[in-house]
């Protein structure tokens, strides 16, 4: 069955329309990634409404290629402006900018592009191999286990995101609470709708996604509109690395890709974590560590391979379990949900053709990313200089049009604006917005699987203790919450203190 899906997915991805949208997504991704301050998640959320009138496969091909290419695009601004285009490219600045400063901007961009290509392809292959294996396992799962998976997913995302775990957990819980708005699927009762007909089908998560990920970026771009970016480095040298240099960097690129894939699989950790992790490992493995920070090519290759490898890794739990591994993966899952494809085991069975088309799009989009990356390198320099106010105003216009198109309804636009303001305050309070959005996406799965589980258990919560898998997953969820508490930190510190105490 899987082989059929794999073959159908490949054929779907190779249709002229889908290939055209893969190329279009790659071009948009590179340009958006190159714009300082814009993230891949924002671009995905803004372009999500474009997929409404497209077949699901085509829309997902475009979103997947955009996601992959934006990861590379971030390095352009990092190398040329000393400002990472995306948060995932922050580690690239350390060695990319010094390389550019000594006249090797082209070489740095070429290394970044080659490393991104290898990282992207390896992670796509890992996704293609891992998703069916996990998918087989998930077929054994019933509502009890699905509820436990959803709980584990949300707690891991909330506690592993940067900053205070309490803030992450609150963000996730708020998302889940907001997902309770609308008709209850079991009893058919309207919950928390405040007699507003627009809320009977729940809070449209597309409006929430657009608002939370786009409006805060538009507001902060407007605030910084007086700060002018200047191109510090110019491209005057050879772009693609020579074969010998590439082969020298290859072990580092492959290791960093592995780091990216594994980091991506863990919900809540994204491209920024992976790129710093890979950078540190590249430094640790290097024979001459003194060149790191002064323009070592290995310091560009490692983070760029890792952040592109995160894409495939983050999609493993998204596709196999229905739990998005990152905020970008949550938007991609949103792209499936707008077409009525719900997260869960059916992604690899009932909707296998669509899902495998997405997987192939992740692999194939690396080719246009590489070719367009080479072709658009000099265009990207102009893109990085577009005034921030132009970008901010365009984001607002796109957000309004996109959210209006969801239901042809102004209510969704106001809702999007409300979520935008909330996202901005979240940013100021350093509360991660990703767990809230993932909570909104997973709320339905959590609610329906809980209702089904309790029906199976005749209303008793002990049904979760009777399933060893569910019990194990719920204990893991509890551990992920506990490890973020001061109590756990105290327990970890205690053995370290003992020698000191003994010496006294």
């Amino acid at each position: 069955m899987e082989n059929t899906f794999i073959a159908t997915g490949l054929l779907n991805a190779f249709t002229p329309t889908n290939l055209m949208f893969i190329v279009l997504g790659s071009a948009i991704g590179i340009v958006v990634g190159a714009l300082p301050g814009l993230s891949a998640t924002m671009a995905l959320a803004l372009l999500l409404p474009l997929t409404f009138s497209l077949p699901p496969e085509t829309g997902l091909c475009m979103l997947a290629s955009l996601y992959v290419s934006a990861m590379y695009g971030g390095s352009v601004a990092a190398i040329l402006l000393r400002t990472p285009g995306t948060p995932a490219a922050a580690a690239t600045v350390v060695d990319g900018f010094p390389m550019g400063a000594r006249g090797e901007a082209g070489r740095a961009l070429g290394i970044s592009l080659s490393a991104s290509l290898v990282g992207g392809i390896l992670s796509g292959i890992a996704l293609l191999l891992a998703a069916p294996l996990l998918g087989k396992l998930v077929l054994l799962f019933g509502p009890v286990e699905l509820f436990a998976i959803a709980v584990l997913g949300i707690t891991m995302i909330a506690t592993l995101t940067k900053g205070s775990p309490i803030k992450g957990l609150l963000s996730g819980a708020l998302g889940l609470l907001l997902a309770m708005v609308g008709m209850d699927a079991t009893t058919g009762t309207a919950r928390f709708t405040f007699d507003n007909i627009n809320l009977y089908s729940g809070i449209p998560f597309t409006a929430a996604l657009i608002g939370v990920f786009s409006i805060p970026q538009a507001l902060s771009l407007a605030e910084q509109s007086r700060v002018k970016e200047e191109v510090a480095n110019r491209i005057n040298d050879r772009i693609l690395p020579r074969l010998r240099e590439f082969l020298q960097l290859l072990p580092n690129i492959v290791r960093s890709s592995g780091i990216g894939i594994v980091t991506g699989v863990i919900p809540g950790t994204g491209g920024d974590t992976a790129s710093w992790f890979a950078y540190n490992e590249a430094k640790r493995f290097a024979k001459d560590k003194s060149q790191f920070g002064k323009g070592d090519p290995a310091g560009v290759a490692a983070p760029e391979a890792a952040n592109n490898a995160v894409v495939g890794g983050a999609l493993v739990p998204t596709i196999a379990l229905g739990i998005p591994g990152s905020s970008s993966a949550a938007v991609l899952l949103g792209g499936l949900m707008v077409h009525g494809i719900l997260p869960g085991p059916t992604l690899l069975t009932e909707y296998g053709e669509v899902t495998y088309t997405l997987i192939w799009a992740v692999i194939l989009s690396n080719v246009p990313m590489f070719l367009l990356g080479l072709a658009l390198m000099r265009v990207c320099i102009c893109v990085t200089l577009v005034p921030k106010m132009v970008v901010a105003l365009a984001i607002v216009a796109l957000s309004v049009v996109g959210s209006f198109a969801i239901n042809n309804n102004l209510f969704d636009v106001w809702l999007m604006a409300g979520f935008g303001v909330l996202g901005y305050i979240f940013d100021r309070a350093r509360i991660p917005a990703a767990p809230m959005v993932i909570g909104l996406v997973l709320g339905f799965l959590l609610d329906s699987s809980l209702a089904q589980s309790l029906l199976m258990g005749f209303g008793s919560w002990s049904v979760f203790a009777k399933s060893p898998i569910a019990l194990g997953l719920l204990l893991l969820a509890l551990l992920s919450v506990l490890q973020a508490t001061p109590l756990f930190r105290l327990l970890r510190r205690r053995p370290e203190r003992r020698p000191g105490v003994q010496s006294l």
Binding site: S164, A173, D184, T189, F192, A397, L398, V401, A417, I425
Partner: protein, 153 residues
Amino acid sequence: MNSTIVIGAASIALALLFRSRAHGLPADAVRLPSLLIWIVIGLAVLMIAEELLKRRKARQAAGASQSAEDEPLAPINWPVLGAFGAGALAYIALIPYAGYLVVTPVYLICGLWFSKTLSPAKAVAVGAVITAVIWGVFIWLLQLPIPLLPALN
């Protein structure tokens, strides 16, 4: 006022509002929401306590090195934020009456002009190009239902 405390207080208020609306609903329909309401209240209280504790520690150790998370954010640029926000709200409010083809270029041109980002001529050109691109992709190509010129309907 501190954004964390604002969000904490707003979360508690939202949870209590949901709790008041949960009365009278079937028990099966409010099983998970009731659980989530208490989780939200508990976490919001913890977050406020954590923030107050952090502020007290910061006052006690004034001048000590700060962690990356504690590094102060750039202050809010209230005049720009206020003007930009008001422009965006006006844009949303006017779209159903004046239509996309009128409001969008006006919003973009005024935004670029008043912020002194571009000269008037360039602002008009950029506003027209962005309006045309969004119209071309979202409305002409994908046929998404946006009110273009309601006055003509």
